[in-house]
Amino acid sequence: MSLTVKKIFVIVRKNMKIYYLKAPIIIFGIIFPFFLFLAFSIGRDVSVAYLFPGIISITMFFSSSSIGPAIPPWETNMKTLERILSTPISITSVVFGDIISGFLYGFALTIVPFLLSIFYTALQSYAVVLLAIILGSFCFSSLGTLISTYPTDTPSTSMMISSLVRFPIIFISGVFISVNDLPAAGKYISFISPLTYIVDIIRFSFGQKNFMAIWIDFLVVFLFTILFIISSLLLHKKFLPRRL
């Protein structure tokens, strides 16, 4: 294993131990999507199977991007950041460590509703869903890391900004209402959200109506991921040392 990869995984392990593998974080990650699910399903005449793509997408989106924004402000606040910056690890590796941590957490939690869905309904393609979960978790974790570049040392400020970014995304991405059923303006707005494309892929895999060729969906999510990673790197390189 190359030295850089090794160091990235030192950061991943540290993040897992300190931030992710905590009972409340895991419990929250599991129950939160179900509450959202209830909120959207109660009083509506839809089948459980119909709602699964929404649950899977929202779990993926929420869990992958949830903890990332809090890590740099927390490390600034707890005064652990300066030591990490003084060791032989590049800011790029630290950023990738943070992204991979969010990815692993998001992936693990999204597998739960995915497995449940298999009991309820037959899928068109398991591989496509799996690929979407992998790419999607990576993309949303990168988004979380991008949000984390905002230079504050107060985790709650960072979480506030994170909510400001993430909640609107849910509402414009056709998570529980298909984009096809949105009015024209809504459709256009939905195109700026990476979540729209993930939902589209997963709807397709569940044999529901999708609105775009899935290779385009994958390509767009991939491009969003690259965009999030590059901007995270640039902004962290600029702001991380200034947090001290």
Binding site: K6, K14, K79, T80, S86, P241
Partner: protein, 320 residues
Amino acid sequence: MDEVIRINKLTKVFNGLVAVNNVSFVINEGKIFGLLGPNGAGKTTTIRMLTGIIEPTSGDIEIFGLNIKKHLLEIKEKIGVLPELANPYMDLSAWENIMIMADLYNLDKKVKISRANEYLELFGLSEFRQKKVKGFSKGMKQRLQIIMALIHEPRLLFLDEPTTGLDIQSVKLIRDIIKEKNVKEKTTIFLTTHNIAEASVLCDRVAIMDKGKILICDSPINLQKIFTSTQSLEIMFDTSSKDISFIPEYLSSRVEAKELISGIEISKDRDAIKIYTFDPVSLIAPVLEFSKANGLKISSVNTYGPSLEEVFLKIINEGG
């Protein structure tokens, strides 16, 4: 002798505030270099630039002959850093904290385990290795953080105020180990402190910094002259019925005392006088004699070591 650190015209400006101002010096291998200065002098900013954590506004830094801009990771492999205001990870154990560092420096599994055990023992933390840092005292945290800076046995160690705010035992332990590292392994050490005594006992060379500038850089022996002339003797009197304002005049008339005195301050509201001198002890006798002869009751006599403020005043005054 090999140069370990060479900095040339180093400057750092934070939105208009010049924190480090055109500083140049060279530190040779195997030396302990002390940067002494009051709050806000620019010590931490200097260390942060030398350890590659922040970039200088201008000037050059070479560590082990390598330019820091071009060889940052390579330099970071070889240095150990104890930041001024840092913490270990509170939710992890002492052992886990050390292992994170060992892994970032890519130490071999066997090496990291045996070294971690050895250092935990040396710093008196063996029995706390599996305890979460959350419950550690300040001194224990600081000792752990020094282990974290030492685990890869760096050739150059930066310690930003390693002993500030710790109790005597921790201070002594830390100083002893710093000295031992330096003597036995020829580790070059760059430390900052507010404490003149610490700088004098530990360092081969001391630079005094204020407002971003190095005012003077010399061996402790040479600086001692400045340090000692800023010691003082404070005498407090028990009564306000008698006037103490003629004491300076009296002391000045005694030739043997006069030569010892570099300044006298009277504080009337506290009924105290403070005499600046390089030899406070010899002044006690004439003051006692005088007080006895004049019926003044002494409530306390204190001697003070050199304070940083006084050293500064002295240097600034002498330097013009």
